[in-house]
């Protein structure tokens, strides 16, 4: 076991991990931050996306030991300081960007990473960016719409599904 220390959602956190402990396992099992979901074993679904040093990362495809010293952001840290939904979360609610909600934490974290780099993406850019986030319920349409709305763009022309 080795000791790791990282900042998670602004707070310094330490723990003992094995070499094989994934960042996702450390978050979910050791820290009980179960908002980060695990949807696959093949690094393909994106339900586990968190930010590490500002970049979107599949937390199931990085070891906790590699995040020693890193700045990690998870879905639990996304709400506004007063506990209300942030603009992306509120847009997902408003535009029905979720059904079962399993993919949603990863979708929101990917959307946040996209909007940080590209504050006014086109619809095509949103779809392209979500290539690594799989949703089995919504058909993506309302997720794309929610992200467009969160970026402050008019989505009235994007038909409701």
């Amino acid at each position: 076991m080795t000791k790791v220390t990282m900042t998670i959602n602004g707070k310094s956190v330490s723990g003992e991990v094995e070499g094989r402990t994934l960042l996702s396992s450390f978050l979910r099992e050791d820290l009980h931050l179960t908002g980060t979901h695990i949807g696959c074993d093949t690094s393909q679904c994106g339900a586990c996306v968190v930010h590490v040093d500002g970049k979107p990362v599949k937390s199931c495809t990085m070891f906790a030991a590699e995040a020693d010293g890193a700045d990690v952001a998870t879905i639990e840290g996304q709400a506004n300081a007063d506990g209300s939904l942030n603009v992306i979360q509120a847009a997902f609610q408003e535009h029905h960007g979720l059904q079962c909600g399993f993919c949603t934490p990863g979708m929101v974290m990917s959307a946040a990473a996209l909007l940080k780099d590209n504050p006014k993406p086109s619809e095509a850019e949103v779809r392209e960016y979500l290539e690594g986030n799989i949703c089995r319920c919504t058909g993506y349409h309302n997720i794309v719409k929610a992200i467009m709305a969160a970026s402050g763009q008019d989505v009235s022309a994007i038909a409701a599904e």
Binding site: V52, C60, T61, F63, E66, A113, L114, G132
Partner: protein, 260 residues
């Protein structure tokens, strides 16, 4: 996953020393190795993470050669832009989260028969730089998942001579995001190179008949009537060997037409 330790060296020399143990394995971005470990298809005793080795990261350009550190992420290559075709290729690998972590060294060491970077390295006539030697791409890619790398040898950089014109066209296999077929075309003062990935059971390879035709006349039309044999091409549920053979010509023409 079986249990293992992780070491995080800060220099190439420390990494090489850590890898001298035969049950140790290098860990790049982990985007291929971690899924492999989850399936228990590998059982190293120790992983030597290269992500903390600063001297293996970054991109520099001098005298028409672009040098990309072996630990440079796909994302950083995508953002660079000084070799446009290479940056565009990197920008289309997998998805954003894969590009945040995956590295050029890991991709070229792995030599997946459907991976993108091997086509860029072979198509550009790049040089693979390791802790021990420099290897021409033509001698480096030996076969599917096989390379000239020795035990514990680390790719520290890849040197790309920047061509006059180049382009990579990838026909995406939508489930994996890898290339069903991908073709990298580069036009240099010495002629044209065409490297094909995703198609062959032998892994990435050059298409010499197309190179000859394009060296005389660099236009998509120069490839009219030129076909590749489906013998020895990959056939799976995503596409037959004949389909891939057809795609090789189509993607090559598209790459020539788009080369800049």
């Amino acid at each position: 996953m079986y249990a293992f330790d992780i070491e995080r060296p800060a220099t190439v020399a420390e990494a090489v020393a850590a890898l001298s143990n035969e049950d140790a394995q290098a860990l790049g971005g982990g985007q291929t190795l971690i899924p492999t470990l989850k399936q228990r298809l590998a059982s190293p005793e120790k992983l030597v993470s290269l992500t903390g080795v600063a001297e293996m990261k970054g991109i520099s350009s001098a005298g028409g050669i672009l040098t990309v550190g072996g630990g440079t992420t796909h994302d950083d290559v995508a953002a660079d832009g000084s070799y446009k075709a290479l940056s565009e290729l990197a920008a289309n690998i997998g998805d954003p989260a894969v590009r945040s972590r995956g590295t050029i060294g890991g991709s070229i060491a792995n030599n997946d028969p459907s991976a993108c970077y091997p086509a860029a390295a072979l198509g550009s006539g790049a040089t693979i730089v390791t802790n021990e030697r420099e290897i021409a791409a033509d001698d480096y890619f030996v076969g599917m998942f096989e390379t000239a790398l020795g035990e514990g040898e680390i790719i520290t950089a890849v040197k790309f001579p920047i061509p006059e014109k180049a382009n990579y066209q990838k026909f995406v296999q939508p489930a994996s995001r890898f290339a069903l077929v991908g073709v990298f075309v580069a036009k240099t003062a010495d002629g044209v190179r065409v490297a094909v990935t995703g198609a062959s059971n032998e892994g990435v390879h050059r298409w010499s008949a197309a190179e000859e035709a394009l060296s005389k006349d660099f236009s998509a039309g120069a490839l009219d009537g030129l076909t590749v044999s489906a013998d020895d091409l990959i056939a799976d549920l995503h596409g037959s060997a004949e389909y891939r053979a057809h795609l090789v010509s189509v993607m090559t023409k598209r790459a020539v037409a788009a080369a800049s």
